[in-house]
Amino acid sequence: MKPETRNRLIALGAILVAGSALAWIAFGNIGENLVYYWKPSEMVAQGQKAYGATVRLGGVVVPGSVLFNTEHTALTFQVADSHKGDAVKVTVKSEQTPPQMFREGIGVVVEGAFSADQVFRTNRLMVNHSNEYRAPTDGGMPDEAWKNSLTKAE
């Protein structure tokens, strides 16, 4: 074998080894850092498998379930699949101040983890955004009344 060919083979082999090592590490790492998009019912259906996994839990804030202590910034509320009475509910606890848009009945996505005590702890609360323009349906913008209540109430 000519030295040139041998060098090329060595280089090729080295690159192959490095490449497969990288792929192996990357795939392994990805598996540990997956974030699951689940509804409360889907998460509860996972049983113990759901405990500890990073989850983006999407649902609606159950009316009447919000407790917020401004002194200690402790927020507790329930998230349900839907507004139906029999929908699966999950208790969520956060130590963050909720964003302005947060209120009962609104769609939210919370990122965090579910644990065996059946509490979902989150440090990231996102109100379901809808920046797509929606045409005024019944004479006004949707939520116009709500916005007025915020900006005009004295």
């Binding site: 990288l22 792929a23 990357a26 990805i30 963050q96 809808s130 920046n131 900006t151 004295e154």
Partner: protein, 670 residues
């Protein structure tokens, strides 16, 4: 004639010109009939002119609020300030693709015009390939993303552009920069594909290939940095980079283009890495198209996907065609791209560049995998997941450290065979400075192996780079008795690419230091304040001075007046436009926040308004201190300066020495 018809007519004319240039350029080029080139050039000028015209018509329609044009009805509003009315040209899908067409026209025109007299024989094919890409975009504007549809009974007013885009002045320059970066990659793709099709792979086409990659490279760099600045200054979540698919989409072509800028040096000096370098040029372009697909088709539910449309399938087909075309080209012409010489030891300039390329390829792979993984699992397993930021951070960190290390080692090593003793002698001072920097940082209380490694390596790289930058000048000062500035100027202009490249390196070091410091040492605090109450953030203190409100034609806002007290007791009042606020736009249901960012050289104090209660006169805040984060954006001038130095045209001096290989065509021209 109404504006819709005029604009659509111009787009159709552009489509015709581009298709004509593509067909004539490629067929006559393959038949080697060079006489057809003027025809191709004229068709390209026609394409550029009609695209520019169509964009001017759209801007006119926007400014005159002609709501009978569909796009104007979609994004225009009588209450939007004029500057944002012009900007709304690229605020939604259809307009941005139209704007894309104008940039494409400008680029191809500039390329065809620059080389109208002196050019290689592949010029016709290159122009043909570029025109084929232009045809695709003109087709998109004329069909799936047509902004011109005429509305018979227009409304009196429209909703205005997306509020997120109206909220900050950066949105005026960030998208055009990114587009200039994306679209510009068409040119190197065209040059490479043309030369491959022609089958003449001498050296003559490498100079234009390199230069025309550097142009979109700098726009892409600036576009990415401005985008992260915008996310930081507008979105208010307290960060500048989230490994969002849209951010990744712009980062990947930047990675491959950067790798290309390096491997092309090995190709020129050592006639090696040919196939690899060409593959990088092709890949950079394909990744920009993949990126556009990700951004514009709405396959990801990311914060940027406000422009969902049915252009996705068209793009997928185009990406498929590009992949097949590029692979075939490389397969058919691969035998012409065999290295003419062997790469020597790994401890050499070319060895370090080879390693740098492997690292860049690895980062690209990591980012691509993380970005596409959710699509694959959703497509195959119907599971909706996303890949968390820790994956990207954990994978990118060691690879970035490797690039930083190579940025210092590479410039120190000579081409070919290195003498270990010389290297050791050269490494002493930079290595000592690196250790000193890390030690001093440690002594001042900075902890954590990651930031300290970055600081130490940065010190090492800066010393090596400054030495490479100014050693030639110093030699001139002693040998030729020149004044300092003359010596620097002369030595820089003698080796523009080298000098410019090292200036860019300094900018990249600044960015890496800023990223390391701001992510490792950031301080966060959150809480609700009553009127007159204060809270601590690090050594700073923030006092809430009450709510304020205001009304502008296009929005209403509520602001929380603040007073910031620095560790030294100095008070800064944020009562006016610098107070954190929430903006309410007619079009949006959600308020759009504007954080208050107090920028300082060494740190930013960042306060974003989370919520407020008018009745109780309270407000809740998210606050951060980001050390050195501003250096990311302050690095832009260094990157631009370095690129300009590298691109500055060499004055025609001496004729080419007789020992230089005889090029098949006019030297220095494609």
């Amino acid at each position: 004639m109404n504006l819709s018809n005029l604009g659509y007519g111009l787009v159709l004319l552009g489509l015709l010109c581009a298709a004509f240039a593509a067909i004539v350029g490629i067929t006559t080029g393959m038949m080697r009939k060079e006489s057809a080139l003027p025809l191709v050039q004229k068709a390209i000028y026609g394409f550029a002119a009609s695209m520019l015209g169509a964009n001017l018509v759209m801007v006119y329609a926007l400014l005159s609020h002609d709501f009978s044009v569909k796009y104007v009805a979609q994004v225009g509003s009588l209450s939007t300030p004029t500057i944002f009315t012009i900007v709304s040209l690229w605020s939604a899908l259809e307009g941005s693709i139209l704007f894309w067409g104008a940039i494409m026209g400008a680029y191809i025109f500039a390329f065809a015009w620059t080389y109208r007299k002196e050019h290689g024989r592949y010029m016709q094919l290159s122009l043909g390939v570029m025109a084929a890409v232009a045809t695709f975009f003109a087709f998109l504007i004329a069909g799936p993303a047509n902004p011109w549809t005429h509305i018979a009974n227009p409304l009196a007013d429209g909703p205005g552009p997306n509020p997120l885009l109206q909220n900050h002045v950066l949105m005026i320059i960030h998208p055009p920069m990114l587009y200039l970066g994306y679209v510009g990659m068409t040119i190197p793709f065209g040059i490479a594909a043309g030369a491959l099709l022609r089958g003449e792979l001498g050296d003559a086409w490498l100079v234009p290939l390199r230069k025309w990659t550097l142009v979109p490279w700098i726009f892409l760099s600036v576009g990415i940095i401005l985008g992260s600045w915008w996310a930081y200054a507008v979105l208010g979540w307290g960060g500048y980079w989230a490994w969002d698919p849209v951010e990744n989409a712009s980062f990947m072509p930047w990675l491959t283009a950067t790798a290309f800028m390096h491997s092309t040096m090995v190709l020129e000096k050592k006639k090696s890495l040919k196939l690899w370098t060409i593959a990088l040029a092709l890949a950079s372009f394909i990744l920009t198209i993949v990126g556009t697909f990700m951004t514009r088709s709405g396959v990801f539910n990311s914060v940027h996907s406000f422009t969902q449309s049915d252009i996705g399938p068209t793009f997928l087909v185009f990406i498929g065609v590009l992949l097949v075309f590029s692979t075939l080209l490389l397969a058919v012409r691969g035998h012409m791209l065999v290295a003419e010489s062997q790469l020597g030891s790994i401890v050499s300039r070319e060895g370090s560049i080879l390693l740098n390329n492997l690292v860049f390829a690895a980062i690209t792979f990591v980012v691509l995998l993380g970005t596409l993984y959710p699509l694959i699992t959703e497509g195959l397993l119907h599971k909706k997941i996303t890949v968390g930021e820790p994956y990207f951070n954990q994978m990118a960190l060691p690879l970035s450290l490797a690039t930083l290390f190579l940025m210092g080692v590479g410039p120190m090593l000579p081409w070919g065979v290195a003498d270990p003793k010389v290297i050791q002698r050269q490494a002493i001072i930079p290595g000592a400075v690196g250790l000193l920097v890390a030690g001093v940082c440690f002594a001042f209380g900075f902890r954590g192996w990651m930031p300290l490694t970055v600081f130490g390596l940065s010190g090492f790289v800066v010393v090596v780079t400054l030495r490479e930058l100014f050693l030639p000048a110093q030699q001139r000062m002693t040998e030729q008795k020149e004044k300092m500035f003359t010596a620097i100027f002369v030595s820089a202009s003698r080796a523009r690419r080298r000098f410019g490249g090292y200036v860019v390196h300094l900018g990249i070091v600044a960015i890496m230091v800023a990223v390391a410091a701001s992510s490792a040492y950031k301080i966060h605090n959150t809480g609700t304040l009553k009127l007159g109450e204060s809270m601590k953030i690090g050594e700073y203190s923030v006092r809430f001075d009450g709510l304020d409100r205001g009304k502008e034609p296009h929005r209403e806002w509520i602001a929380a007046k603040l007073t910031l007290t620095s560790p030294g007791g100095e008070e800064t009042v944020h009562h006016g436009s610098s107070a954190p606020r929430m903006n309410f736009y007619e079009r949006s249901n959600d308020p759009i926040g504007s954080p208050s960012v107090t920028e300082m050289i060494v740190r930013d104090v960042y306060v974003s308004l989370l919520s407020y209660d008018v009745k109780a006169n309270t407000a809740s805040f998210n606050m951060w201190i980001f050390p050195m984060v501003g250096w990311i954006w302050y690095a832009i001038p260094l990157l631009v300066l370095g690129t300009l130095i590298a691109l500055w045209p060499q004055r025609k001096q001496k004729p080419v020495p007789a020992t230089a290989p005889v090029a098949e065509v006019v030297p220095g021209a494609p």
